[in-house]
Symmetry: C2
Subunit: 215 residues, 2 copies
């Protein structure tokens, strides 16, 4: 998610083959992680520290959702940086003293039934929101063909109409609601030029198969 | 994240003690997971199937970001439900045939350098966005005291002013920029009533300690 600066305070095991495996390719982030003896060493240089917290504290702190926090970070003055996001232990999170060192507590919205996330999951969501907030929320939706034009679609419908008549699909005494349903169906799939060509090719083959003279 | 219906198609190991441990309390979701032999059995009843995919396919599919998809789900007609989100294998994701069964491909925005996420991470982000989109994006930011009123703040500044004069903090010949900085400092933290009381208590103790007659 585009972050590279990982500080580990008194990790149980590090380096750890499991960490390498779970890095999913981002081995350089793991390899360049800094291991420190105290939290103060880790956040000492930071102009802003956000702590992740699940539960309300005895003395409530300023709390923001991870999404709000990520948007704040984007508009945050350079004077606040470097900025740290502090995650707690797998089993019991951050202590009250550690949370009191934070400017802000960040919370991940989650079900009232199971409020707690694994540490890795919490990290994933925070870095994902930070990545999105930096303007990366869109995915590139590529398409290999241009959309069919309105005229191409109309010509395709006319062709379809001829075929449906030729195969006796339309009941002359009934309203042509089926035709409208075809239009709705094709209309909402935003056909591309190749798809229209494929459909028209199919129509042509139907016409040939039933030996209807083409006009 | 409020989802409870988990289908596993040909899992390598299930039940698995690791799955229980990683469930972070949501054991009922794991316990009620349905294990199936084929993907068709898993998605057969679904009115909409979204597949998660990292890379572009040879024939591009409709692609949306997980955030767009989650918002779509909220406004989606009941006629589309039940809806499935399909995740692939840890190492190589969904096959082309599996992806072709999907109405839509969902993509998680991620760094160009490391586009691939662990399966668990991908699931976490998708269910998180679905949870947020159902109107759960806000975290309740509780506070245990009411904000101090403007009058209380002004009285506190007047008290501070007396104390700063009493301790000789202000240079009579210099402009009182320090005082303005105190105002800016306290102003931007939106003091609550207890914090104002604590500050004024401290001012009073300073006054007593230097034996200044109080007015």
């Amino acid at each position: 998610m585009g972050l590279s600066s990982l500080y580990l305070v008194n990790p149980k095991r590090f380096p750890d083959p499991q960490a390498d495996w779970r890095a999913a390719g981002a081995l350089d982030v793991v390899a360049s992680a800094k291991v420190l003896d105290s939290l103060e060493d880790a956040i000492g240089d930071c102009g802003f520290v956000a702590g992740t917290s699940v539960r309300d504290r005895h003395i409530p702190w300023t709390v923001k959702s991870v999404e709000e926090f990520a948007l704040d970070v984007v508009s945050m003055s350079e004077a606040a940086k470097p900025l740290a996001v502090l995650f707690g232990r797998e089993n019991n999170g951050l202590s009250n003293d550690e949370l009191a060192m934070c400017n802000l507590h960040v919370r991940i919205p989650s079900s009232d039934v199971y409020g707690s996330l694994n540490l890795a999951m919490a990290v994933q969501i925070v870095v994902y929101e930070l990545f999105k907030a930096r303007g990366n929320s869109e995915v590139k939706a590529g398409w290999d063909r241009r959309h069919a034009t309105h005229s191409e679609i109309v010509a395709m419908y006319e062709h379809l109409d001829r075929v449906l008549n030729a195969i006796g699909f339309f009941d002359p005494s009934a309203p042509r609601t089926a035709y409208t349903r075809f239009q709705r169906m094709f209309g909402r799939i935003e056909l591309d030029e190749t798809e229209v060509q494929i459909l028209r090719g199919m129509f042509t083959h139907i016409e040939r198969a039933i030996a209807v003279p083409r006009d």
